[in-house]
């Protein structure tokens, strides 16, 4: 990857420089504009990382596309709402929601997905069925209303730097993802479990051959993915709300991330979410009319140049 990645970095650098020059002479936006857009872009990317990293890991280990991943995100938001309504604590809602949905993911993998064996297509189709069932279940439990997860007052202020304001909840979001990302990295790169996971990603057949219980690894990773997505749902609840239909609205975003970053790689998920977050924000700022295009067109471009994404393996 290194050679290709370096070339990519160089190309990006040139493009960024070009964009900067263009901006100075053509768009005439102030430096403030760029600072604040980059800040918003990174914080949005942080949210996307939570949503998409699980999708990417699940794909790496199980070779399936989890189309119920948006449902996990939505479920996370709903469970958090229940926690907040009963205990009033937003901080408590994050781990409780993430754990609950994580366990749900474990169960779903073990009881249902495992039953159809190692047939990726059937598993993918099955996840669609579950997405539909989750839709109805959330509707029955939480109703059809559109909720917001109000952030607590201690996060509802904005430190000021010069003329710019940086909303605290976004700073918190970036911080949370730095922590979660570091833990994930330690887990995957440094722990024994991580080594086993990496071996499974590299070659599941071989991993089974040397006595790794890939079935159990699949279960763990699926649960972990659900856990992360649900955490994203709680955080996202303050930005995009929690409402029926959100599941299939965030799913394409998650796909954009993993397609750009490459499936099955944590680094890819991080790079993908930052790229998508920045591109979406800056794109909306510069060309609001083209906002979806600025998001999906580069994705197609990357597909054309490197179908497996920046960090994906062939």
């Amino acid at each position: 990857m290194s050679q290709q990645f370096r070339t990519f970095l160089k190309v990006t650098l040139v493009l960024v420089l070009l964009a900067a020059l263009l901006q100075i002479f053509v768009f005439q936006k102030s430096l403030d504009f760029w600072v604040i857009q980059v800040f918003y872009g990174i914080s949005y990317g942080a949210l996307l990382f939570l949503l998409a990293s699980g999708l990417s890991l699940i794909f790496g280990v199980m070779r399936i596309v989890n189309l119920a991943h948006g449902s996990f995100f939505l479920l996370g938001g709903y469970v958090a709402l229940t926690v907040i309504w009963t205990t009033g604590s937003w901080l408590l809602a994050i781990p409780v929601a993430a754990l609950t949905v994580g366990v749900l993911g474990l169960i779903m993998e073990r009881i249902f997905l495992r039953q159809v064996g190692f047939d990726p297509l059937r598993q993918v189709l099955l996840t669609v069925g579950f997405a539909l069932l989750f839709q109805q279940a959330t509707l029955d439990i939480w109703g059809g209303d559109n909720f917001f997860i109000n952030i607590p007052d201690y996060l509802n202020w904005s430190p000021r730097v010069g003329d710019l304001f940086f909303p605290m909840n976004r700073i918190f979001m970036i911080g949370l993802v730095v922590v979660v990302g570091t833990l994930l990295w330690l887990l995957i790169e440094k722990s024994r479990l991580g080594a086993v996971i990496r071996a499974t990603v590299d070659d599941a057949e071989m991993a089974r051959g040397i006595g790794i219980d890939t079935s159990r690894i699949s279960m763990a990773v699926f649960g972990l993915g659900a856990f992360l997505a649900a955490m994203g749902g709680v955080i996202g609840g303050g930005f995009i709300g929690v409402f029926p239909g959100l599941d299939f609205e965030v799913l394409p975003l998650a796909f954009a991330v993993v397609i750009i970053g490459g499936m099955g790689s944590l680094r890819g998920a991080l790079a993908g979410s930052m790229i998508v977050g920045l591109m979406d924000n800056i794109g909306k700022g510069l060309y609001p009319e083209l906002s979806y295009f600025t998001l999906y067109a580069p994705m197609v471009l990357i597909l054309a140049i490197k179908p497996t994404g920046l960090f994906g393996r062939e």
Binding site: F59, F112, G129, F130, L132, L133, F248, P252, Y292
Partner: protein, 331 residues
């Protein structure tokens, strides 16, 4: 097995004929749903060609429906074209724009196989959705485009019964065309690719080109369904192009049975029946939809069309027919 094959060939026209006979007499709402089933049936044919015959699971087929639908709406809205006897031309243009889009997207998608193919087609579908959503001056953005009346050429398609017959004829032709296609040498080589691409390559086939052609044809079918879709509803919005439509199309084929052609229409009947009809009676219809779907994947890998065979397996030797062999049914 020849018996079953012959039966199938007779049964399909028989059912279609019956449908054509009874449809004018069904309640008007049901008629509308039947038309919807047929239109989705065409879209399902396009998914089936890819999934059932070539082994490529597409999750972006709504993109081609969208291209056809927007084309028809824009032609009417801007150029007042396609509301009189020029309507058949719009059908052809719909096929062409679907095929052209697929020809472009295929350059990206065909390299991938299996689940990768699924992701890439999904991404390409999102591009079309994004354009539909944001290219306001052309697509009307979230407002969509309204088409006030259906075409009239001698007969007025605004009459649902007339429109039904038009859709019926188009579906039958599409089905017949696809039947000929999959039974042609080209169709056989697609199935060969589905079974083992490497073997086909070693036999000297240009498998990339075969798949690319199949992808384009499927796109054409999608575009065709889109034109009819616009005139059924009188409106096209970005919602029609969204991921869920693609998911629905895939679902219909899986439900009905991949690689069976008419299975798609049967799947469409189930999905439309639950989504549009059952939902008017009960509120928990999504459990039924999800449930039917999950159960089909568990117990009917060959979809509803595999049901007769399954029943037969359970009750062996009651008739003189020899038990079915999997390989012979597929041809």
């Amino acid at each position: 097995m020849i018996n079953l094959l012959r039966n199938k060939v007779i049964i399909v026209p028989a059912v279609l004929l019956l449908l054509a006979l009874i449809s004018p007499f069904v309640p008007s709402f049901i008629l509308l749903l039947i038309i919807q089933v047929l239109i989705f049936g065409i879209l399902a044919l396009s998914v089936d060609l890819l999934l059932g015959y070539t082994g490529l699971p597409s999750l972006g087929q709504a993109a081609y429906l969208g291209m056809g639908a927007y084309l028809a709406a824009i032609l009417v809205d801007r150029f007042e074209f396609g509301l009189s006897c020029d309507f058949p031309l719009v059908l052809v243009l719909g096929i062409l724009i679907g095929a052209a889009t697929a020809a472009f997207f295929g350059l990206f998608a065909i390299r991938a196989t299996g689940v990768y193919f699924l992701i890439i087609t999904l991404a390409l579908g999102m591009v079309v959705w994004g354009v539909a959503n944001r290219w306001n001056s052309m697509t009307g953005g979230d407002n969509g485009i309204n088409v006030l009346s259906r075409p009239a050429c001698g007969v007025d398609l605004s009459n649902d019964v007339v429109f039904f017959y038009v859709v019926f004829v188009v579906y039958s032709a599409a089905l017949g065309g696809m039947y000929v296609l999959v039974n042609s040498p080209f169709g056989k080589s697609l199935m060969g690719i589905r079974e083992s691409e490497t073997r086909m390559q070693m036999l000297g086939y240009n498998t990339w080109f075969h798949k690319y052609l199949a992808f384009i044809i499927a796109g054409g079918y999608g575009g065709l369904s889109g034109v009819l879709w616009t005139h059924l509803n009188g409106i096209v919005t970005p919602e029609d192009v969204i991921l869920t439509t693609s998911v629905d199309a895939l679902l219909m084929v899986v439900l009905g049975g991949p690689g069976t052609l008419v299975g798609g229409a049967i799947g469409a009947m189930v999905v439309v029946g639950i989504r549009e009809y059952l939902s008017t009676w009960v509120e928990w219809w999504q459990y039924v939809l999800g449930g039917v779907y999950v159960l089909t994947i568990y117990f009917l890998p060959e979809g509803l069309m595999g049901l007769p065979k399954l029943i037969k397996k359970r009750r062996p030797a009651r008739k003189s027919e020899p038990p079915a062999e999997a390989s012979s049914v597929e041809t």
